[in-house]
Structure formats: C-alpha cells, structure tokens
C-alpha cells in the first residue's frame, strides 16, 4: 500500500518533470540564437578596426564660398557642408528665428543625389513654408527651383529632409544651351542655383502671421493660383554661394 502510494506520487513527480522539460524545450526553440559580443560573423577573432581618418574635403575649386559655410571634417569620400539661414520678412516679429541647412554628398564621383536637411527653430508656428534653391539669396532671387516643403510645429520648430541634386543644381532652358555660369567645379552649363531660401507657401497665411494685409503674392510655390505664395521668410543672406 505504501509502495503503491509512493509509486503514484513518484509518477506525478516524473510527469511534472517531463512537463518542465517539454516547456523548456518549446521556449528555447522559439528564442533566436544569441551571439557573443566578441565573436565575428566568420567566427574568428574580433577585428580591432582602426577608426577611419577624417579630413576636411576640398570644396569649391572654381569659385569662392560664403563665409557662413562650414565644411565639416568627414571620412573620405563624403562631403558635408552646413550653413545657417536668417530671418528675412519675419525678422521684426520673429527675430530669434534660426535655421541650419546640412547638405551631404556620399561620394562626389558616384552619388545619385545629395541629401539636404533643413532644421528650423522659433519660426511662426503651424505654418507651411516652401524651400527653394535660388540664383540669388535676396531680391530679385533670379532663377529658382522648388525642392520641398517644411511645416513648423506648435513651438515653431520643424525639419525636412530631401534627396535630390543640390551641389550642382542649375536652371537651364535647353533652347539656349550656350548659357554658362561659374560653379564650385568651374564653368558649367546653365545658371547655377547656389542659395537656399524659405517662403510662406500661402499669401493669406503670411498676411495673417505678419499682420500685414498689404503683402503681395509671390511665385514661390507650385500648383494652382498664380502668385499665391507669400514673402521670403528665411534666407542664407549671402552674396557668395552656399552650395
């Protein structure tokens, strides 16, 4: 009787043990294998890679660059430049508005496009601005290329990232193929677009924000409605090129 009771209890213990083993096996089969921090993909000893050398790349061999442009020290072959934007029409109402433009070129020989990052602070809140590459940073601006939009948040900050040709952006009418201008690389076809500016994308919004119902519309937005954009809000403010 005692043996029988012990046998029963032992049977239950064995079953519980089996259940634990079963659960453990199931859990481990669904857990992805972990790798040691020291191992390499090939299983060899860890590679003690040297940090790559940083250099300040040559930027602009053909013309002078604006003094506000900072060419960052970066790993070859990348080229990264940064420059600030300053308030234009919004200066009196938003004197602390600021912006930083970062332009990145992966490999000048093979890249398909550049990356342009525009960060703004203390701008009119909840407003949409258009971003243009222009021939001139101030009026009359000259030739212009519409590259993207930026919408500010409640606190007046905002950010946009675009992937397109920036360092060698140019405007041209192919019917006049002999027109040339100076680029960072020397003489180039077309009219170089080497400045960046932001515009109010709507004249109604600009009039409201700037408390000026007399503001005239501008062409600095795409789409229906002639001259439906507002005035320039931010400019690089330079005579010499920034990109």
């Amino acid at each position: 009787m005692v043996f029988q009771h012990l046998f029963k209890r032992r049977g239950i213990q064995v079953a519980v043990l089996l259940l634990c083993l079963f659960l453990s096996a199931c859990t481990s089969s669904t857990t992805p294998p972990t790798t040691s921090n020291n191992s390499t993909p090939s299983g060899g000893s860890p590679v003690q890679a040297k940090p790559p050398t940083i250099r300040v790349p040559a930027f602009s061999s053909g013309e002078q660059i604006a003094p506000t442009v900072k060419v960052l020290a970066s790993v070859d072959p990348t080229v990264i430049v940064q420059f600030p934007l300053f308030p234009a029409s919004i200066k009196s109402l938003f004197p602390d508005a600021s912006a930083l433009v970062t332009v990145i070129q992966g490999n000048p020989q093979t890249n398909d496009f550049d990356t342009v990052i525009v960060d703004v602070q203390k701008m009119p809140p909840n407003q949409k601005f258009t971003v243009f590459f222009t021939e001139l940073s101030a009026r009359p601006f000259g030739h212009a290329e519409y590259v993207g939009d930026l919408i500010t948040r409640e606190d007046g900050s905002g950010e946009s990232i675009f992937h397109l040709i920036a360092f060698v952006a140019f405007a041209a009418d192919a019917r006049q193929s002999t027109v040339t201008s100076q680029d960072q690389s020397g003489s180039a076809s077309g009219i170089q677009l080497e400045h960046v500016g932001l515009w109010f994308d709507g004249i109604a919004a600009a009039r409201q924000v700037l408390h000026d119902p007399g503001l005239a519309g501008t062409p600095f937005d795409g789409g229906g409605g002639v001259l439906h954009a507002g005035p320039q809000a931010l400019t690089d403010g330079q005579t010499l090129p920034v990109i």
Partner: protein, 239 residues
C-alpha cells in the same frame, strides 16, 4: 479494474499535457507567421486618384499614365519611359517611373522611383524634369542620377517636388498651364527624361563619335553630357 482506475487517474494529466503542447505550438506559430489581417480593409473613394483619372480621360494627362488604386490621401501614378537616343543600339530598353505623394496638402516632397532594364550597362545617366518630352526640351530641372548595373538594369529613388515642379526666373516668372492644377506661376515641368551624364560614355556605348555634348549634367565643364537616352515620349503631361 485496476487498469481502468490507473487510466482515470492519469488521464487529466495527459489531457493537461496535450492542451499545453497545443497551446505552446499555436503561440510559436503565431510568433513566426506574418500578421493576419483581421478585417478586410474597407474600399475608400480616393478623390485625388479620381481627379487624375479624369485628367487622363480628358487628355490633360498623357494616355500612358496609370493612376493606381491607392487609399486616400495618397496619390500614386506610374508611366513608362521609352528609348530615344539609344533606340537603335538598345531597342529593348525600358523604364518605369513611379511617383508617390502622401497628402496633397501636407506632403513635404514627392517620392520618385525610376526603374530601368536592358539599358547600356555600367553607365551613369542623369534624370531631368523637363518642359517638353522631346527636343528642344525647354526649361529643365536636374533631379538625380541613375547608374546601371552590369546587366543594364538600374534603380534610383529620390525625394523632390514632382507633381507641381516648375521652373522660373523670379524676375519675370510668367505663368503656364499645369495639367492638373490649372494656371500656375512659372513654367511647369511635366515630363521626365534620362541623359548620358558623359558624352564620352555615350559615344562609346552608341559607337558614334559624332555625337555632340549637351547641357544635361551639372558641374564643370559645360556641355559635357551626352544625348537623351530615355523619354516619356508624350505631348500631354505625364505628371
């Protein structure tokens, strides 16, 4: 009698084991399987897509443009590119352009995907938005490059303003008719083409040393680009 009793004693345990096993297996399967769609998405009317389809029907957009069945507020169009300057040497060359806009009112840029096949291999091409699909091309905007692989295929993806792209000189911007938007400032750029970025590459690939340089690449020197390789080939706008 004893065997029946033993079975009755052990059966709950067996049942428990079976239930646990099944439960763990289903949990493991659910973790590895892709998430299933609980409900079929409700088909929504996309007014922007309908507007563009109407533009195609009325001839305001080229007949080669396909407006995809996307959910609002997205707009997705596709149109082919056909060989122009490379037609004789690479008659099978094809290109497909996909343009995506998130929200007409709030998108900060459009996404453009250009896929090509059977093109001259290992060559860099420039991509331009242009006023006219064919010569003299008119006003142009340089937007990106595409470098083909060894098999003549290639792809590039970039983000820029496409659906309302335009060129202008702010000193006298003028106006033009946009295929979708009506009268707008500047000159609308509603076509897309690809050019050899290097005249030398073009001369070698097309075995024609008489080819002349064109403006269709940025940087020094002037007229260092080659001829147009691919075009949308349409008179009506494609975007």
């Amino acid at each position: 009698m004893q065997s029946v009793r033993r079975f009755l004693l052990s059966s709950p345990l067996l049942l428990l084991l079976l239930l646990l096993g099944a439960s763990i297996q289903s949990t493991a399967l659910a973790a590895t399987a892709p998430p299933s769609i609980a409900k079929k998405s409700i088909i929504q009317v996309n007014p922007e897509a309908n507007r563009l389809r109407q533009a195609v029907r009325s001839g305001k957009l080229a007949p080669t443009v396909r407006v995809l069945d996307s959910l609002p507020p997205t707009t997705i169009i596709q149109f082919p590119l056909v060989p122009s300057g490379i037609k004789n040497a690479f008659p099978q060359a094809t290109g497909l352009v996909t343009m995506i806009r998130g929200d007409r009112n709030n998108a900060i840029a459009d996404t453009i995907i250009v896929d090509v096949q059977h093109m001259p291999p290992n060559i860099t091409f420039t991509i331009f938005f242009i006023e006219l699909a064919n010569k003299p091309f008119g006003n142009v905007e340089y937007v990106a490059d595409l470098t083909t692989r060894n098999d003549g295929s290639g792809e590039t993806i970039f983000q820029a303003i496409a659906f309302v792209a335009f060129a202008m000189d702010a000193r006298h911007p003028g106006t033009s008719q946009d295929g979708q938007e009506g009268t707008t400032s500047g000159t609308n750029l509603e076509h897309l083409g690809m050019w050899f970025s290097s005249l030398k590459d073009a001369q070698a690939a097309l075995q024609d040393n008489t080819l002349k340089g064109t403006i269709f690449d940025g940087g020094n020197p002037p007229l260092h680009a080659g001829p147009q390789a691919m075009t949308d080939g349409q008179i009506a706008p494609v975007f």
